[in-house]
């Protein structure tokens, strides 16, 4: 194995909590701590620029595409922070808010069994009717024209401002995460029963990728919608959705971790995937290379010495990695 250890790091910063999520803009990085504080750092050098707190803990953070607004979600509600005004609107609903997902100037946040769409000021625009159980994840389809949410027993898709679903995809089981290809052609969920369930939206035909050793709680499509990366095994699996999709195919398998704890595709469609693991490694892969079904190792890796808990790209050249003890590494992959 010819492993090169790259040590290129632009900066490091410590935060006083276990980070669970990262989000970036051109200028800023936000680090979400499990206990509820989000640290805002300067993307250039990691200098602290402020904090925002959501009472009860944090589950997700998401900067708006224009970088002006930060949505925060957690076990007891959600909040919106506006960078220019330094102003925060907190909504303590006492309901589980698993996720925030932006589509231009609107953000969908999970609110218990419902998803609520907010404007940049945190004001409610519309909400979905309640699902049968707590919403675990959200995704926008077709440039924000359609919202998909997943909960126990399947996926529901909503047109904007329509509380009732325009389509419901049912599959019994506990769905933990959702990924939709940008063109809206595929909807995939990662499941508690150690499988990935896939729907082709055109005709609702479905397939299940089973055989994972453990639950699948992270799924991510790359920008082009061709590649889907998943956890659920010591190997990261990458499914090829070119042409008719992955039915009958084997995934590419990337072996670097004990347990996969983070996935992040490099923006811009180069099929470059960053992955993090419980053993403290960040690995960089060309997912298109190699043969399906044959595990391979990464040529590029960083040993951070502590469990990786979140990854996020800042542009194409900088990769942010957070570790459990609270160190944020700004890595600069040479390509």
């Amino acid at each position: 194995m010819t492993t090169t250890t790259l040590t290129d790091t632009a900066w490091r910063q410590e935060v006083d909590d276990a980070p669970v999520t990262l989000t970036t803009t051109d200028d800023l990085v936000a680090v979400g701590g499990a206990s509820g504080t989000a640290w805002i750092l300067e993307a250039a050098d990691g200098r602290p620029a402020g904090t925002v707190t959501l009472p009860g803990g944090l589950l997700d953070l998401a900067f708006s595409p224009d970088g002006e607004h930060l949505a925060l979600t957690g076990p007891l509600g959600y909040a919106m922070w506006t960078a220019t005004a330094g102003h925060t609107t907190v909504n303590e609903t006492m309901r589980w808010s698993a996720r925030a997902r932006w589509a231009s100037e609107r953000v969908a946040v999970a609110d218990g069994r419902t998803a609520i769409v907010l404007d940049t000021g945190g004001r409610e625009l519309w909400r979905t009717e309640p699902a049968t159980s707590t919403v675990t994840d959200l995704a926008w389809l077709r440039d924000g024209r359609r919202l998909a949410l997943t909960a126990y027993n399947g996926v529901r898709c909503h047109e904007r401002h329509r509380p009732d679903p325009i389509a419901a995809y049912t599959y019994v089981g506990s769905h933990l995460t959702i990924a939709a290809s940008p063109n809206g052609r595929w909807i995939c969920t990662g499941n508690q029963d150690a499988s990935i369930h896939i729907w082709r939206t055109r005709d609702a035909s479905e397939l299940t990728m089973s055989g994972y050793p453990s639950k699948v709680s992270r799924l991510a499509f790359d920008d082009t919608g061709r590649w889907l990366a998943a956890d659920g095994a010591p190997e990261v699996t990458v499914w090829d959705f070119a042409g008719k999709g992955p039915q009958g195919s084997s995934p590419r398998m990337l072996r670097a971790h004990d347990t996969v704890t983070a996935l992040a595709w490099r923006p811009g469609g180069s099929a470059t995937l960053a992955t993090g693991g419980s053993e403290g490694t960040v690995a960089l892969w060309d997912a298109a290379a190699g043969a399906p079904g044959r595990p391979r190792t990464s040529a590029r890796r960083w040993e951070l010495g502590d469990q990786v808990t979140a990854l996020a790209w800042n542009g194409r050249d900088r990769l942010l990695a957070a570790t459990r003890e609270g160190t944020i590494h700004c890595l600069t992959p040479r390509t």
Binding site: S133, Y152, G173, N191, Q192, E325
Partner: protein, 332 residues
């Protein structure tokens, strides 16, 4: 239980409204002061201690697609426990308080099914509180066809039963209640008390696998032949000298729990496996089962196998025959 187990213990407190759960929980939080405790409660109680993290949760029962028809888990607990484990301030103890109407099986099964949870948290014990004055009424309540009697389930699933409010009834009634609880669940230790005033050491860090003493205390149920083939929830205990062939055991349990797992609520055992100098401790919830090495057999200690089943329609003869066929060296 191996000595090096560093997983955080989880105690499940269950029992009907009015059985004293909130009183007991508040006592734990007060007396375990200084320890970091997270409480997950299903109904807003009157829990109020500053250094405990109290989280509210609405019961969400999820079926699993794992071929196990009675296998349900608590989706809400998977979520909340998952978020708790990601926090840096790890907890000394987690307590899950369930509603009086909750089925304990999905709670217990959550620890078997979710690897992330099972690797970091240890289900220490299910503690069921019962009200001495009212429990018989609850146990005897006739439910419509297909509806479980929650009181029976909670007693059947218990590792310890706190028989509370004994000051409100006379001694004869306490004896009647004890006998009745024992008939349902011969394995759980019954702790009589008033005002939930028990020694917390009896319910915390119990190590649910600690069976030997209970079985020695009351060997009576090992031969009890009452209640065969009936709908009443009972216990069947079996004791066998000799050594068990682990492959035969796995085959038998897989087959037995696959076929009868709906009726068998819990199964537990301490076994002497052929070729091992340690006890093998085993427990199952419905169709799911799991085992691990326990302490070493002591010098001169007879290598014997004890197994207990708690459930409905238990056929002692059939269970005894199946278990005996797992002995090493017995012709298959």
């Amino acid at each position: 239980m191996p000595d090096h187990d560093s997983r955080v213990p989880v105690t499940v407190l269950t029992g009907f409204l009015g059985s004293g759960k909130t009183t007991l929980l508040n006592r734990i939080l007060t007396e375990e002061h200084g320890r970091r405790i997270a409480v997950i409660e299903n109904e807003f109680g009157e829990v109020g201690v500053d250094d405990a993290l109290v989280l509210d949760s609405e019961e969400e029962i999820f079926e699993m697609n794992n071929g196990c028809i009675c296998c349900t888990v608590r989706g809400d607990l998977i979520r909340i426990l998952g978020a708790l484990m990601r926090r840096r301030d790890s907890f000394d103890r987690i307590i899950i308080e369930t509603t009086g109407l909750a089925d304990p099986a999905p709670v217990a099964q959550t620890f078997f099914v979710d690897e992330e949870i099972g690797s970091q948290l240890r289900l220490d014990a299910i503690i069921t509180l019962v009200d001495a004055a009212h429990v018989l009424t609850h146990l005897d309540e006739v439910k419509p066809e297909g509806v479980e009697n929650e009181a029976v389930e909670q007693v059947a699933f218990a590792d310890r039963i706190v028989l509370n409010k004994t000051d409100l009834v006379d001694e004869a009634h306490v004896t009647t209640v004890r006998d009745r609880l024992r008939a349902v669940n011969a394995l759980a230790e019954i702790i009589p008390t008033a005002h939930a005033g028990i020694d917390l050491g009896q319910i915390l860090d119990v190590g649910a696998f600690d069976l030997a003493r209970v079985l020695q205390d009351d060997p009576r149920f090992l031969t009890d032949t009452d209640h065969q083939h009936d709908q009443t929830v009972t216990s069947v205990g079996i004791e066998l000298p000799g050594e068990i062939d682990v492959e035969r055991l796995n085959d038998w349990l897989g087959e037995l729990l696959g076929a009868k797992g709906t009726d068998i609520f819990r199964s537990k055992g301490i076994l002497a496996l052929a070729g091992s100098d340690r006890q093998y401790v085993f427990q199952g919830v419905h169709m799911l089962f799991d085992g691990d090495n326990g302490r070493a057999w002591r010098d001169g200690e007879p290598r014997t196998n004890r197994m207990v089943f708690i459930g409905r329609n238990l056929d002692r003869t059939q269970l005894e025959r199946g278990f005996a066929a797992c002995l090493a060296g017995v012709p298959a």
